[in-house]
Structure formats: C-alpha cells, structure tokens
Amino acid sequence: MRLLVLAFLTVALAGPREAESCGPFLPMAQFTYVSQPPQGVFAHGQLGILLPSYHRRYLVIAYRYLTGVPLTREEASEFDPQPPPAPLQPTPVSPTPVEQWLAARKQVPGVPAVQGIAEDRAGRPPNQFQFYQNCLDDAFRNSTLTLAERIRRWGASSLAVAEWVRGQDAVFENCRDGSTIPPALTGVDPLLAADRRYQIAAAEFYSEDYAGAERDFGAVGADSASPWHDLGRLMVARTQIREATVAKDLSQLKDAAETLEAILQDPQETKWHASARGLQDFVAARIDPQARMLALGEKLMRPGDGREFSTALFDYTYLWDGTNRGPADKSDLADWITTFAGRNWSHALERWRAQPDDAWLVASLLWVPYDNAAIPDLLAAAHRVDPAAPAWPTVTFYGISRAIARGDTEAARSWADSALAIQQTPDVHNVFLAQRLKLSRGWDDFLRFTPRTPVALNYDGIDSDSPVQDGGQVVSQKTAAFDMDFTAPFNVEVPLGRWVDAASTVDLPAALRADIAQAGWVRAVVLHRPTEAQALAQRLAELRPQLRSPLQSWLAEKDADAARFKAVLLMMRTPGLQPEVRPGFGRLTADGQIDDFRDNWWTLSEPKAAEGTPAAPPDFLPEPERATGRKEWQQLLSTAAQATDYLSSETIAWARLHRDDPRVPEALHLAVRTSRYTSNATPTRFPKQAFQLLHSWYPKSTWAAQTPYWY
C-alpha cells in the first residue's frame, strides 16, 4: 500500500498504457507531464504537480519556490522565455569558422591550396577510439581576424603575409594528427617573428607537445614586445588543462588552478579575468565535483542574474548527472532533491519536523507511508497551504492520495471536490479528475469526472512530454479524451443499457459521446440487442454526420436478418467501427478509411492489468449491473473477439442464403479485406471461404478481380 501514490502516478498521470501499440511510434496522449513541464509557466511559479521523475533542473526551480525564494523575473525569463521562442525557421547556411579561415587565406597569392581542416584528433592509446575536438572555432576566428590585420599592415601579396600563412597552416596541420612545427624566423619584421613564436607554441599545443607549449607560451607571456604578451599566461593555463584532460590525469589540473589564480590576482590581466574565471570553474568541477556542486547550489539559491542562473543550473545538473550523486549531506537543496526523488520517507519526515516548510511537506506527503502516525499532521499541514501557493497542487494531490489510502473516503472526496472547484492548468485538473473518478459515488459521478484534456504526447513511450501540436492536425483536434480509468471498467463491466445513457449524457463532450455511441452500436449488433442498437444508431447518426446516411438506411430496415447483414456490410465498409471505447487519442484515421498501421476494425482480448492499476474499480454501478456488464463482455469475446472471423462468418452465412443479393460479391471482397488490414488478426478459415465463394460464384465480377489473394 505504501506504493499507492506511485500507483496513482502510473495510472492516473502517465496516460494510456495499452498493452499493444497500434503501430510504430504513433502519438500517445498524456494527461500530465512525466519529466518536464511545459515551457512558459513552470519557471514563473506555476509548478503544477511535482513528480519525482521530473528532471533535476525543474526540481531546483521547484525548491526555490517551495522555500520562498522565487526566481527573479530575469532568472525565470532566461530559463523559460515568455512568450516561448518561435520555432526555428530554416536559415541560410552560414560559413563555419573553418570555412571562413579557408576563404580568408585564399586572398594570399602563392600559398598552397588547402581543401579542408579536420578539427578532431584521436586520443592516445588505449583511447585511440575516442576523438576530441583539438582545434576549436575560436582558433579559426582569431586566425581570420589576425590575417586581415596583417594584410592591412603588410599587404596580401607581401612575403611576410605568405610566411605568416605558412606558419598558420603548419599550426592547423596538427589538428588531426602529426607534429608539424613551423621554423623560427630570424632577420624578419619583429612582428612576424613574434607571431611565429606564438605559432610555434600553438603548433606544439595542437600536436600534444604540452611541455613545449607551456614553455613557449610562457616565453611569449614574458616577452613584453610580443603582441601576444598578455595572452601568454592564460595559454599556459589552457595548456595545463588540455594536458590533464587529454591524458586523463586530473592531478595535473592543480597546476592550472594555480596559474589561473595568479592571473586573477594580477590587475595587469584584467582583460582575461572573465576567461580565467570560466576556466577556474571548469578546473574546480573536475578536481572536486561535489565541492563545485556545493558552490553552484549556493549560487542557485541566491536570486540574481538570469544568465548566471541558467549557466549555474546547467553546470549543477551536468555534474550531478555525471557523478550520479549530489552533495546531499552538505546542502539543503541537494538533500531535498535526493530525498524527493529517492523515497527516503523517514528522512523526509525528520526534515519536515525540523523545518516544516512546503518543500519538506511535499517530500513527506509523497513518501511517508499512509499508516504512519505522522500522516494526520501532514494532512493538516497540507490543508493549510494557500491555494495560491506554488506547492498547493502538489500537496493537495498527495494529500488526497494519502486520505484515499487511509480509507478516509468522505474526506478525500470532499477535498477533491474543493480542488476541482479551483481553476487550475489542464494537467492539474486532469489529475484531480482522476482522483475524483476513483471516489465516484455512482454512475453520474463516473461520467462527470471522466473527460480529460490531453496536455502532451509521447511516441510509444519515446519523447515524453512533447507538445500535443507535434502530433499533427488530427491529434491537435482531440481536445477531450478518455483515460484508462474509465475505458477499462466501461468496456468490461458496463451493460449496454448504460451505454445508451452515456451516449446521451451532457456530462461528456460530443466527441466522447460519439465514441460511446459508435462502440455501443457495434456491440449491440453483435449481441443481438436491437433496442439498444437502434437507440445508439440514432445517437451516432446525430453525432457523426458522415455515418448518418448508412445508419438511417439501417434503421429503416425492418427485417431482423436483413438489418443484421446491412450492419455487417456497414462495418466492413467502415474500418473505424469497433466495439470498445479507447483511451487517449484513439484511432487516428477517419472512420471510412483504412489506417496505414492496421488500426482497423478490432481484435479483442481480456484487458491486461497495467502496472499499478488499482485492484478495485470505482464504485460506479451496483454489483448486479456490473455482473450483467461482465456477462455481455464475455459474450462479445466469445462471439466476435476477431472482427475478421465475425464479419466473414456473418457474410458467408448471408451469402449462402442470398446468393442473388447484388451486395454479396462486394461483401465477400470486404470480408477478405478485413483479414488483410486488421491489427493482430490471426488467420482463420473464414477469409479463405469468403475468397473461394467470391471466385466460384462471381468469377467475372469486379469484386473478384479486386481480390486476387486471401490472407
């Protein structure tokens, strides 16, 4: 029972989890978010219902709000721009820094052509399978800028510029492999000689001669006449860092840390202080990730600049992901994230007792077992949270879950009703509806709390939390849907008489009533229930205009057997007709069209209990009625588990008695077609029989010509 909350999360929140998908990577509706809430609200304080599966970057932000340190406008906007940025438009391809450099050097006559430059270099054995980006974009940008300046000074056709380019070519030859060091120059323009000394150090750097590079960059830094003089010490630090990372010997980073500290202490090098600080953070993160995370955590808890917040948040979660451990023993932030995501209920409760804020209330309500003596205190605290507070949806949801688990049904129902009366975002509303559905007091409740709003989608479990719009026009138009907490009991335990009622209730949107009328009509036909079938056909004709004409024709048929065949023919002409209501987006193709992924007609099976499904469905009908519903379901399974068999056998039976009926050849063709295009259909004798009858009785018909195979 301790996992009741997780059961809720699985069933009520994760959306439909059908045992079999209807095709590869088709959009599946979500009624709340799994790991990342939508853009535009969360960072601005609308936290919704926090889940332990949320990515840590959201948990950091949640902790700020839950502890009364809301994000500043700059921080929130930097993380989560409002309005969200427009989708990226195709932009003209702009040249890369390498391409810019190659274009720039073409201005210089007489230098050898260079086709391209590989920027990556293989690691040293045993790391030869891993490449690293040896020459970074800035190297090419700076070369391009420096060449332009030298051309201005000496002229593009000058010997000095040609020599400079040759030196730079040698530098970049080392990007991919090898060790090409340009020769030192004497007796030339002092600037060219100074440039060459820098080029030699750079070539050593890229060729992994780090000792040489450190020595020669140091010399450049010591040469006050060199234009690269002020860059020398920073390049020494970069060399030390590069050597440590390429050799994977992080102990060498301490040298880099000392060099960077010296730069930061030197007012002469103010120009490079920002770069040095960035490198210092890089070094600190690798020397002691936990200490760096601790520092970043402290920074994240201080309201401040948006850009700095985003950078710190990225670094913090990057380091946590890399080490898979946060400094929980030294930081409240990391402690809360670890506890909230990690089920440690006793620690959560201990922290809430010591520090009764919303953050620890949320963690405690989530994880403390429902029968723990502290639960009444936690529930009381949850009730005291202001509905305007960021924590309110979360504590309300977990509080109701705990009340349900404790058997406090009346209290839970009243709480859920109050929660639903407050306007919330659709995902939060969906969750409260799910809770309230579980607490249904009867049929009306069951229908009233059923409709959900899809708020996101995934593709067969992949790319969770994608915007609904990504699923295309058909999906975007499905603004109301069933979840499994309705469809599972409805399909299996609700008798047909109630289907007629549900197809007319004002508590359901028209699209959902149409789904019920459609599935109910097929079911009623299969079960030989003409009264319900006619009532549902009338409802369906009103709700789905495209089916009005054939349904009215069916309704006009007075002979029971003829009506039955007419219904079968309509079903075979309409691949979207099925005897079950479906959760989520349902079928994504128009009723009359064959679905590309064989989501056509039906193949029924006993529903498999999804992980975490509550054993008992809501108390929505008296037991005798539910027993009737179960009996009808079993009858449906025994009569028409496979559309292919049912439709083919009904067609064959009619055909044998009415061989002259001009509709029979088409019906036989359609019977064969159902076996071709129905998902999960198992071949039986009926399609073959239909095929044989078609070709033996009507060999010259157009329908026979259209039916070259049976399946």
Binding site: D120, G123, F129, Q130, D596
Partner: protein, 243 residues
Amino acid sequence: MRPHKSLVAAGLAALTVCNGCQRQGDPLPGFPRLILWAWERPERLEFLDPRTAGVAFLARTISWSEGRITSAPRRQPLHVPPGTALMAVVRLESHGEPLPATTVVSRDILEVAAIPGVRALQVDFDARLSEREWYRQLLQELRRGLQPAMPLTMTALASWCQSDGWVRGLPVADAVPMLFRMGAGEPRGAREFRVAECRASFGIATDELPEKLPTGRRLYVFHPRAWDEDAYRGAVRLAVKWR
C-alpha cells in the same frame, strides 16, 4: 540409363534452391559469434571475454544537409580488453539532397578503418530508394579503398533482405538485418531471408528481443544504455540460445 528430363529438371531446381539457401563461409573470420554494438556513449567493456564477444563501435557519424557535410568522430571513451575483435561502424544520416560526393564520404570512412586495432568496417545507413545507387557506389569505393583482408559489412533494413532485394550483389561480406526499431512495412519476426547477403547474422536489441531466431548466425546486439556486466551476460545467453 538416361535420367528422365523431369528428374534432371527437378535435380537442377533442388540444386539451385540449395545453393540459394547455402550459408557461405564465415564472412568475418576471427570474430566471435557475438558482437556488441557500442554506440556513442561512454562504454567500459573491460569485463568482456574477447573469445566470446567482439565489439562494433560507432566510430564516426557523417551527416549532410543542404549540401553541407558534418563528419563527427566518436567523442566518447571506449575501453575493451586486449585482443578484442573490433569493428568500426560509421553511421550515415541523410537530411536530403543534394547527396555529397561519394569520394568525400568514403575518405572519412576509410579513416576510421585505419584506427589501430580495427579489423572490420561496417556502414550503417538507412538509404532511401533515391539514395540506393549513391550508396552502392559508395560501398564500391570503400571496397576498393580497403585492404583486401579488411571485411566490409553493412546494416540492412529487414525489407532489404526480404522483399526488394536491392542488397544483392553489393560488395559487402555481410548485410546485418536489423530486427529492432523497425518501421512500417518491415517484415516482423526472424526468418530465413531471401537475400543471401543477409543470412550470416542478425541485429537485435536487448529491449526488443524476438521470440526466436534461426540458429547458427552471428548475433549483433544493441543495448539502449551503456553496457554493463549484467547486460553482457544476457547477450551471451542469447548467443548461446541461438547458437
């Protein structure tokens, strides 16, 4: 006695069928029957027994879009025990025409074949219909550019091995049918594929295992996360099961 014509015809037909079904010699001599695909993530495979499993590691990804090629080498570490049979895999990703010059792409692919320790090369490209001739030309260039003893293999959509058969005659030692993450219209389930080039191996994923496989093939196994010892042992069990 002269055999009856129909008997001769039947015998020839049987011979033809048998030749068609016959498995050729091992296209990857020296490689174990189990090969782990090591994708672009840190992979520490020191626990692997080189006599039991080889490694096909993603060495480079070459993509193109609007006429620009991006060639990204592996940036993640790969650790294997000494003696492991290694195959470099190059993934090609096309974002539409124009297709790049095959000479440019083959040059980058051949580079990875030169990585010390690599004993075979595999190209992974879900070529569209319009890209097949280009792909064929690329494979021919690669075959010419490789050392004769270096096997060239490719991954293959199951449909290539079954229904359209365009893989026939490509200069590859092995075309590995990928029986996972399949798209619409792909033939599901393991089977004896019609195309001879596809009969030496199967590609499967640990999170999408087929119920059964024809035995006696080399098994390439993809794992959706970094390999660990448990996943490795599971792959070994699969290889034993379908030995």
